[in-house]
Every structure is written in structure tokens, then in C-alpha cells.
């Protein structure tokens, strides 16, 4: 079985097709940025993009991915390693406390901005509701999404 992750095709050999994508990423591909939090699609720690849309990978069988492109937190930065606008905002606004939920938060935010580049407060609430942060960093997460969205739109106008 083949799996495309962050632009690279991996041969998964005879892996059990029922294996959730989360564990394929973490244990087979050593991409440990995607986290396990609950395993039942409740916390969002395992959020990745599937053809650009947010997907909780903990209940998603790897066989269901098919030819879709998987993007994980490791695949967000540019080719030269430059952080994308969300990652930059996350660093500058010092969003993280423990940081464990934040890969999933950033991936959920990435999916939001791809489909809705200028989200309102309630758009952000709705998109991010699926992601828990036990440390309670929601205020900064929301601000970081707004900062990133604003910068993207300025870049577009300017560039």
C-alpha cells in the first residue's frame, strides 16, 4: 500500500489496512508531530489535512486515504524551511503552554484559512471547536488565527 504524505510517497508494505492513519504517521513514518489524545475523534490532537481538509487521523483507516494527499504539521513549512503564516503567528504570539495540542490546532486552523481566508470570530469558533486544549490557550489560538489571516491578505494585496 502506498501513502502520500507531505509530497512524498511511502510504501507501507503489508500494513493492516485498518490501521488508523495517526499510528501509521507516528509509528511507521516517524512523523510524531501528529499527536494521540483520545483515539475517538473528540480532541483534535491528531488533526491532519486530507487534500486540504481537516481530518482527525485517529479513527481514519489508512486504507481509506487512497490517493489523497496527506499534509501533517511537518509539511507546513516552505521548501526552504520557512514557517508559514500560521506557524509564525503561533511562535510570535507565544500560543503554546504544554504545546501538545498545538499541532492539531494549527492543522485545523490551516484547513480553515484555506477554505475561508478571512474568517470572522464565529467562523473561527466553529472551525476550532473540534480541538481541545487542556491548558486553555484558546484566547491566543484565536488571536494567532486572526493575525495569520490578516497577514496573508496583506501579502496578497501587496504581492
Amino acid at each position: 500500500m502506498n501513502l502520500r504524505v507531505n509530497g512524498v510517497t511511502h510504501d507501507l508494505g503489508g500494513i493492516d489496512p485498518q490501521t488508523p492513519l495517526l499510528w501509521v504517521l507516528r509509528d511507521h513514518l516517524n512523523l510524531v508531530g501528529t499527536k494521540y489524545g483520545c483515539g475517538i475523534s473528540q480532541c483534535g490532537a491528531c488533526t491532519v489535512l486530507l487534500d486540504g481538509e481537516a481530518m482527525k487521523s485517529c479513527l481514519y483507516p489508512v486504507s481509506a486515504v487512497g490517493s489523497a494527499e496527506v499534509t501533517t504539521i511537518e509539511g507546513l513549512a516552505g521548501r526552504n524551511g520557512e514557517l508559514n503564516s500560521l506557524q509564525k503567528a503561533w511562535v510570535e504570539l507565544d500560543v503554546a503552554q504544554c504545546g501538545y495540542c498545538q499541532s492539531g490546532q494549527i492543522m485545523a486552523a490551516e484547513a480553515l484559512l484555506r477554505s475561508n481566508p478571512n474568517p470572522s470570530d464565529s467562523d473561527i469558533d466553529e472551525a476550532m471547536e473540534s480541538n481541545l486544549c487542556r491548558c486553555g490557550t484558546y484566547i491566543r489560538i484565536k488571536n494567532a488565527v486572526k493575525v495569520a489571516a490578516k497577514r496573508n491578505s496583506v501579502d496578497e494585496i501587496g504581492g
Binding site: D16, T19, P20, W23, R26, D27, H28, N30, L31, V32, G33, T34, K35, Y36, G37, C38, G39, I40, Q42, C43, A45, T72, I73, E74, L76, A77, L83, L86, Q87, W90, V91, E92, D94, A96, Q97, C98, G99, Y100, C101, Q102, S103, I106, S122, I124, D125, E126, M128, E129, N131, L132, C133, R134, C135, G136, T137, Y138, I139, R140, I141, K142
Partner: protein, 758 residues
Amino acid sequence: MGKLDYTGISEIVAAVTGERQLDDRVGAAEVVKLDRREFLKLTGVMGGGLMLAFAAPRAFAQNGTFQPNGYIRIDQSGILLYAKNPEIGQGVKTSLPMIVAEELDAAWNDVEVVQSPINQSVYGAQFAGGSMSIPMNYQPLRQAGATARTMMVQAAAKRWGVDSASLTTQDSHVIQTATGNKLSYMDLAGEAAQLDVPNENDVTLKDPKDFRLLGNRITGVDNESLVRGEALFGTDTILPGMKYAVYHKCPAIGGTVKSANIEEIKKMPGVVDAFALDGKGSAMELLPGVAIVADSTWEAINAKRALRVEWDETDASKDSWTDASNEAERLRHEDGRRVANFGDFDAAFASSKSQVSSFYQYHFVSHAPMEPQNCTASFKDGALELWAPTQTPGSAIGMAARVCGIQPNRVALHQLRCGGGFGRRLYNDFVCEASAIAQHVDGPVKLQWTREDDLAYDLFRAGGFHQMDGSVDSQGKISGWRNRFITFEVGGTPVSSMNRGVYPGGLLQNVRAEQVGLQWSHRCAAWRAPNANVFAFVVGSFVHELAHAAGRDHLEVLLETFGEPRPMGGGMHTGRAANVIRLAAQKAGWGRDLPQGRGLGVAFYYSHQGHIAEVAEVSVGEVEGTTKNRRGDSVDRRKVTVHKVTVASDVGPIINLSGAENQVEGSVVDALSTMMDLSVTFENGRIQQNNFDSYKMLRMPSTPEVATHFVEPGENRPTGLGEPVFPPLAPAVCNAIFAACGRRVKTMPISEEGFYIA
């Protein structure tokens, strides 16, 4: 196996509540000068001959490396600072090195931070608990930085052939005041390394008013790695040839393995081995269960689902929340053991103008850190190497050694970032399990708890019950106060205790505190702001009830209880308390007119050396029919919206403003989440909640605005901020609910009384 031994829980609880010394704290608060032997320990071989891979990200030449103590290492390529304590989200991996950098006069941009190894002789106590990282390390870390700075000045003076007094430092450089000539620390490292480390008395600390770095907003040192998804956490550990394990214990604690379908499990795909472990009788170390070792986490979890164990539950928990609540309902009418008694409560109560009696209660809750417990272990040639996300690495080493039957000097531990702590990782049962499993596995093995394991085998914040009786006199002053506390005892020891009288113990005239314990088997322990996290709700609400009975403004009565500015026992100062209360009230606009259904509530609590006041602004909707609560009682359903929480904190000077503000906001969200809907209940010895679908934490749409204010510190020393903002939130919100709709909330979570947040 017989009855479980709970030794060790209460020691850690007492230590993090400041009542006793923890193992990890022995030898704290001094800066150890490194001699050659210590230097080698830090840079290379240690404990059991195992190489510690903490080594610096860049290659440091031994020659020309300046390392005056365990916190600083400078050579031509840069400045490396060691963060000594576990990072659990409280920000110490950034804030502690900031203190060193301040006194060193290093430019923060020149600094790289790495986690230090565990070495008691060099670092003293290394743990994360009790909000003590800052207060315990502030002076020693200043000393460490200033020592290095002094040596840099000496090295430059020598090179230039001038007097040290003619030199200053700034931004990682020594500067000749007269000429403006500069030498960088990196350039001077080789010469500084040749000098003797000066005595403490020959080193001058900065005047805090000259601080350049402390008090600024500094972003977390791991931020970039975090947003790139780099391996940082315990659970991210990957080692060559590593296996993956899960461990299944009896859902009722104390149960032992009678039989299991182990042969069947061994045949499952990817399973390498499966075996039962007996446990060692200690509830804190290794409990009996079945281990499954596999080629991947998923195969291990999958096999765990197929595992069928017959448990011997003779000595297992029979804990029942229903039974406990019923028993508490009976006991609240009876006298308890007196733990504090000032004045004459009975006489004051009997002769008062008005009296109030209320029964408060709160459920058990779980720590539920976002990263479920895990630990990687490798046992080879009688030595154990651990990769552990723990809050108490020092204790972990001793416990793991005991479980494996080896000496602690045969154990090496790498401290890894923790995906949340909240007190859960003060206890190292997961480290013990991984260690015991590793003894059966060839090569390294990563033990991963599932979320279900993590909830079921938490060391819970215990529930509790308080029968409160109080009175006000004819002048409207609080004249009598009795707090009858019904708590739990685990292994014969109360899980929480009021023996210090508890606020407002020392402040009022006629006060009595009583305590009774119900027997309990599940482990209960320190949970973010232990004791304070529940007591604040009860006493902060009851003061408001008494103020209302007196027909007076709550703020006025609250301030009145503190009286003249004076120091009290345990570090509280009534003047600092009144200050933050006034500040929070003023910033929140106390007393202004609010629309129907909206209210302000105030509360204060002193804990972990922090004086904190909070004002919540809340709306409560009309009754929307009824709903059934967890007990099956029918209650009125009502919507609560928390618009804004204003927090005034006095924790002395702020080290990192960004981190401090984050802790305040996070504590408010955590406290709101917990008071709204978090509850762990037990029946037949088993926890009734499995996962986040039945243990529902707050999400983004319910998050209030938080306004954070810190008071001018004056002469006070900095204290910790991981915990003290948590306690006042629940009473502030409940008092605001009362102001908004006239309903007094007496149960946490408040969903038990029909409230939901939106």
C-alpha cells in the same frame, strides 16, 4: 496480593502544598561550583555507565569552554543555558534561563536553551510542583548568572590590562566604559575558563531596577520546534529497535489478575509478547495487570481490546459516589473532629442577628493532561535507561530502581517535555510500569497509556462536602463561621485537610473547622492548586451568602474581613489581599448598572504564595424547562454566558510577561472548564467515564475574555503562577450567577444544578 499500600501519596501532596519537604527538594537552592569530576558528569558519562544524550545541539570543544556552574556553558560558538526543571506547560524552560541571562547580561538572542540532565549534586531539587520553580530558583539562578558575568569581566580586565571596575557588561559583551571597546563573551570564554570561580560574597547581583530582560514578553524557547512538529514530548521518543507496549489493570483498583487469554493475545498480529505482572503491593508504583508488547502502538491497542482478564476483586475498590454522597448527607448533621477552633462559634451563632446554613459539594475530577501517560524504558545489563515525561524525575529514578530491584545509580533518566502536568506527573506509576515491562523485553520499549487508561488510573482530585454555618451580627459583620468538611481517606490518610484553619480562619472572631473522612480506595492526590481549587469555591461563595444576609455589598464585606494591612501566617498579607481585590473590582467596573440577567461576582484566594482576586461578568438565561443531572435528579436548565473575567494578581515581580499572561488566561479557562461540567463518578469501584466524550472539557466558543492585571511588586520576591489563579474563578462565577439571577450554586460541576455554558 492483599491490601494496597498507598505510602508516598500524602508525602507528595504535602510537599506540593508546602507542608513538607519532597525528596526532590533535598539540597535545593544553592549553586554548585563545578569541579572537573562534576563537569565530566555533565558532559558525558553518568549513572550506570549510560551515555546521556542530552548533549548540546552543537559540538563544544572541551578546551575553551567556559562552564562555571551547571546552568551556563559558553564557548566560541555561543551561549548555552541549561533549564533544570521539567517543562509541563508552565513555561519554566524559558523563564528559569531568563533569570540566568539577566544577571549574566547575555543578549537573549545569543542564548540557546537545553534541558539539563538530572543531577542532584549539581542542580539540587529538580521537579515541577507547587508553583515553586520560580520562588525556589530565583536567587540561585541570579547568583549563577552573576558569577559568570563577574568572571567575564575579570577575563576582559586581564586581557586589556585594566581594572575590572572600569568595565561594564551588556548584550553578551564586556565594555570598556571610557573607550567603548567591546569583547564578546564567546571571545572571552577560553580565558574565563582559566579563572577560579569566585566566592558568592565576591559576586554582586544587579539592582532589580536595572533589569533589562526580566519582566519583558519573551516567547517560549521550544515554540519553533513545536510548530514544526519536532519530537519533543515523552511520547515522541523513537529508538532503534523499539517495541510498543500497553498495560491493562483492573478497572477497580486493588484487583489482581486471576487468569487471562494471554495465549490468544500472543497470536494476534504484531504482538511480540504478552504477560501478567504481579504488582508490588504499592498503589504508587506497579499495580497488577497484563502487559502487551507489539511492533506498533496500534497493534498493542488492538490486542488490548481483545484481552479478556478475569480479575480477583477480593481486595479491590468498591468505591461508590452515590453511597459517599448519601453518607455525607447524613454526616453533615453530626459534629466532626475539630481541626481548628477560635473564639466561641456556638455562642456567636446563637446570639447573631441572622444565620445562614448551606451544604456545598464538589465531584471528583481527573487531571486529564493532553498527553496520556507514557514512558520509554530500556533495561540492559542490570541498568535502566528511561525517557520520561515526569514532574518529579528524582523520585522517578528511585521508584524505578526499586521496581527493578537495582540501585538508583544504575538508572539514568532523560527528562522530556510533558504534554501537561497539573500534578498528574508528580506520580510515577507509568515510569514504574515501563521499567517493569522493559525487564521482559529485549531492547527499548515505549509504554503508551490509552486515554481510557489515563482517566481510569488518574490520581484524582477528590470530591468533597462542606456543611457551612455562619452568622452576621447587628452591625452586619460576620460574627460566626463553621466549616464542617466531609472528605475522603485513602489508605487511612485524609486526601485533603483543613488543619491550617483555611481562610478565613485567622481573620474572623468565632471560627470552627471540623473534618470527617469517608474511606476510599481510588488514589487521590495533588491536582492544580491542591485544596485551594475546591476550598475557594466554598468559602468564596459563603462569604457572599453572609454579605447578602447582612444586606450589604459583597465587595465591602470581603474587604472588611481582611482588616488592617498585616502579615498573616503562611505568607499571606492582608494588605496585598485588599489591594488585588480593589484593583480587580475597579478594573471590572464594580457597582455599575447592568442589564437584567447580568451580574458581577468577586472572589479572592491566597494560594501558592499568590494573592489573586477575580471578578466575573456573567449572564444567566431564563429557565428552559428541566433536565436530569448525574444523580438522576430533575433540575432547572439554564444557560450561563461568562463574558469577561478580570484578574488582579500579586505574585511579586513578573519574570516573563508573555508566559505569566498565558498562565492567567489558561488558569481561568481550566477553572471554568472544571466548574462547568467536569465530573468523575464511581460505582462498584469503577470510574464511570471513559474518554473525552463523557468527560467534557471547555472548548473555544465558551471561552470568556480575560483581562489580566499584575500589581506593582514593591519589594516582594517573585512567586509562581502555575496554580494560584485557578481557585478564585469558580466562586467569582458563582457569585456572579447569584447577582444575575438570585440562584446560589452549591455544587461543582454546576451542570449538576442544570447550568450549561454557551
